[in-house]
Symmetry: C2
Subunit: 199 residues, 2 copies
Amino acid sequence: MSDALLSDPHLAAEMLVHLGRAARGDGAEAGLTAAQWTALRFFARANRLSRTPSAFAAFHATTRGTASQTVKALVAAGYLERLRDERDGRAARIEVTAAGRALLAADPLHVIAAAIGRLPPAQQRALISALQNVVGETARLREGPCFGVCAECRHLAALKAVSAGGYHCEEADIALSAEELEQLCVAFAPKPPGGGSPA
Amino acid sequence: MSDALLSDPHLAAEMLVHLGRAARGDGAEAGLTAAQWTALRFFARANRLSRTPSAFAAFHATTRGTASQTVKALVAAGYLERLRDERDGRAARIEVTAAGRALLAADPLHVIAAAIGRLPPAQQRALISALQNVVGETARLREGPCFGVCAECRHLAALKAVSAGGYHCEEADIALSAEELEQLCVAFAPKPPGGGSPA
DNA sequence: TCCTATGATAGCGATACGAAACTATATTGA
DNA sequence: TCAATATAGTTTCGTATCGCTATCATAGGA
């Protein structure tokens, strides 16, 4: 009966939650609250399409109103800045300021990242790919938006022949630099299994 | 500059926090709050020595006052019961009720546990052992109490020759059943490397 | 012109947390 | 035996955060 409760996957999930709590960063000297850390990390890692309050709300699984409050606090503190989008007058373009990038150096997550970095390389790779699978699987189960990097996305079209290493997003119809391939995108869709071209 | 922010260990740590948030269980129909789920899971997995409010406070990295409130709410809801300790009149012995065990079947953590369970077996084992390492490492860095199961503990003395499969904790000076070997203990101390099975 | 989408804001409630005061029991030492 | 101290636990109170539900303003698309 209690076998299911003490199974290895459940144990792993408990450790996962435990580690998540340990890195909230609201207990220590706490430059930021937990929600604010999440927002700052998100805007530092999201691509152009996703650096908006709405995308952050989707990422954080909350409402736009709540996301707006979190962003406002970070803008007031000088860690984010709000710019106008030239194409869409409704949208707000959020950018991390220099102060925000400096603050990220004190991210309480570094404690966990450091611990992960000390794992043997093979174990480190295994952890990362396992976590990616679990993140994708839970997002699918919860039917929430599935965030991911462009390099893994179905909408990526390589234009190497045309422009020597350029990339293109078929969904948003914009050009992507090599650097942007590693950023989070709200429009992410996983590639169909089998690699190359879609079915 | 942003290389450190986007390193693989940091990315893994972010996914970890993200998954932890997804399983708080306070957003859904929510039988319990996040803190209450953590408490219920803890008392379902802790051994005799650790089923006290103080041990839970240490585990959850909070104060005894806060832990007492969380326990009180679960006792009022009928998921935990408070018993008197016969040896120590000050101590409270917390036990999970039948209703509590039934509720654990609806643990929101099951979403993540199921996703982990669907990983390939090798990846599953790699994830679990990596997480164990990270939990131990972060506990060491934060100098917090290090929880673990008796089977991995330095204080465990095997008494197989004497009583046909009995075990004994040298720290608390109590006998341990085979079942208790897999439970969490607040007095856990890791074995010195080399004593048991090397990594 | 309707309808939709992005975003900001105010108000409300729930929760969690910590500090401090308090009770009760154990332990220690004289 | 009695006093002093330490420990386990509870309770109260104040505070901060968080998140949701409106509601509103503006901008884009049909």
